[in-house]
């Protein structure tokens, strides 16, 4: 028997009996960050290989939600701070060792860039939009500037979106005090999951069957990679030390089993994978179903990892 109890009556809010300091806003932010990174990456690649007109949904329509996704994500993040009015302190220093510092800086760069990105074509999609109506004619100058440097923006998005996408996982995996998070595969896994939710969003926005099929294929590949990485993740825990073996019990056989296997692995990955394959094979499947399942699965994954991870701890 090995039992540890606090005999001085410890019951600190959000700390005891286990951490609940990071709640839904953090999960939402990780989800939106990964989604935005994925959409921007697709859009930037399509611009660089000159396929923008062939894939209008991916290169133009889907990226329109990115500035909103990032803004909501940032607001959620700031809302979750204990001292939100001082969040500007993030930008008074650069802390190389702190993933949160990395994320804050990357978001500071990516968010305005995503707005410029949308500005380069928004009047093409909505020809009736005139900035004079809002008495903001200077926006034409910004638009001209953005169009002029669009290629460089696309090139910059390649590393920036990868950092943003991976960072959503690294943020959690950098904490060695939470064994369920402390797994190096979490960064790549969240990145791939973010790309997969982005591909699902593009499928929702797709303007032609050709584009939808292409992104269904991309999504199938991403889901297969994601399933591989999840197997890798679980194996990593079992191959780990006592704390990690103890931690993985929460996903396999513990409180989060239904969420993990039911909502993520089955409903969020396997079912949409099968539906998308059927759709490509010519069966009539409403594409909205796999796409929505993937999006919900991605959000469930973030919620589950954030909550379950805080329950696991270093044993001593």
């Amino acid at each position: 028997m090995n039992e540890e109890v606090f005999i001085s009556g410890r019951n600190i809010p959000h700390i005891d009996p286990h951490l609940t300091l990071w709640e839904f806003p953090i999960s939402l932010y990780l989800f939106l960050g990964g989604l935005a990174a994925g959409i921007l990456l697709f859009s930037a690649i399509l611009h660089l290989i000159n396929k923008e007109d062939e894939f209008k949904g991916a290169s133009k329509w889907a990226p329109m939600i990115v500035p909103f996704a990032l803004a909501i994500g940032l607001l959620a993040l700031i809302y979750d701070l204990g001292n939100p009015l001082y969040s500007w302190r993030l930008y008074t220093t650069i802390r190389i060792e702190s993933p949160m510092s990395w994320g804050a800086w990357v978001l500071l760069i990516v968010t305005p860039m995503s707005m410029l990105w949308v500005m380069t074509y928004v009047r093409e999609l909505f020809p009736k939009l005139k900035y004079e109506t809002f008495k903001m004619p200077f926006l034409y100058k910004i638009e001209a500037f953005a169009i002029k440097y669009k290629k460089y923006m696309a090139l910059a998005f390649l590393p920036l979106t990868v950092i943003l996408g991976i960072y959503t996982g690294i943020l959690l995996s950098a904490f060695n005090a939470r064994p369920l998070w402390n797994n190096a595969i979490l960064g790549p896994l969240f990145f791939v999951s973010g790309l997969s939710t982005a591909a699902a969003t593009v499928i929702l926005f797709a303007k032609s069957a050709h584009e939808r099929h292409w992104f269904s294929k991309i999504d199938i590949l991403l889901i297969v990679i994601e399933i591989g990485l999840i197997i890798h993740l679980i194996m990593g825990y079992y191959a780990g030390n006592e704390m990690q073996i103890e931690a993985v019990k929460i996903l396999v056989g513990g409180d989060f089993t239904t969420m993990f296997f039911g909502f993520l692995v089955v409903l969020g990955l396997l079912v949409p994978l099968i539906l998308e394959i059927f759709e490509l094979a010519g069966f009539k499947v409403p594409v909205i179903i796999p796409a929505i399942l993937i999006l919900i699965g991605g959000l469930v994954f973030r919620v589950l990892m954030v909550e379950a991870g805080q329950i696991t701890r270093v044993l001593y």
Partner: protein, 178 residues
């Protein structure tokens, strides 16, 4: 200079006086605490062992909280004490998540992160931390480990001791005599 705390688990009776002293000295908000007493029971009858430990922030040399802080609010001062600068802290909780000892919490009124400071305001005046000074069994010792004549250095030289969660690699500065 390297401040350490040495706690004799064989002399501790688990009275929680250290906890109350800290709450009073540091104006810890109601329902919160910067130190606490753990009772650890191992073995099966008749070979059962009980260990009583007064636990707190371990003022680690390799502090994960200082590493993960995005604003450099968590920092280490001369003597190795880890402190939170309330003017820099945004209350993001990264340090709380990174602490293997769960020694940090978010202050309900300030929104910033709070924890044991080794009573730095007392130590700088040459006094012992509040918890050490009130211990009725004198099971806690505080001092400079770099000074080989200090009580803590002498105790650690002869007594069997351990630190908590050594595997976490944090190099803690609170030692337990066992």
């Amino acid at each position: 200079m390297r401040y350490v705390m040495v706690i004799d688990t064989l002399k501790c009776v688990g009275c929680s006086d250290c906890v109350v002293a800290c709450q009073t000295e540091n104006d810890v908000p109601h329902g919160y605490c910067r130190d606490w007493v753990t009772e650890s029971v191992t073995g099966t009858y008749p070979e059962v062992e009980i260990e009583l430990r007064s636990e707190r922030c371990n003022q680690c040399d390799n502090s994960p909280c200082v590493r993960t802080c995005p604003t450099a609010a968590s920092h280490i001062i001369e003597g190795g004490i880890v402190l939170v600068d309330r003017d820099l802290c945004i209350g993001c909780g990264a340090c709380v998540e990174s602490c293997p000892y769960d020694a940090r919490y978010r202050h309900p009124d300030w929104g910033t992160i709070d924890k044991c400071t080794f009573c730095v305001h007392r130590v700088q005046k040459g006094q012992n931390p509040a918890c050490v000074s009130v211990c009725p069994t004198n099971c806690m010792y505080f001092g400079d480990l770099d000074d080989s004549n200090s009580e803590v250095a002498k105790l650690l030289a002869v007594r069997k001791h351990k630190v908590l969660a050594e595997a976490a690699g944090t190099s803690p500065n609170v030692y337990y005599l066992i």
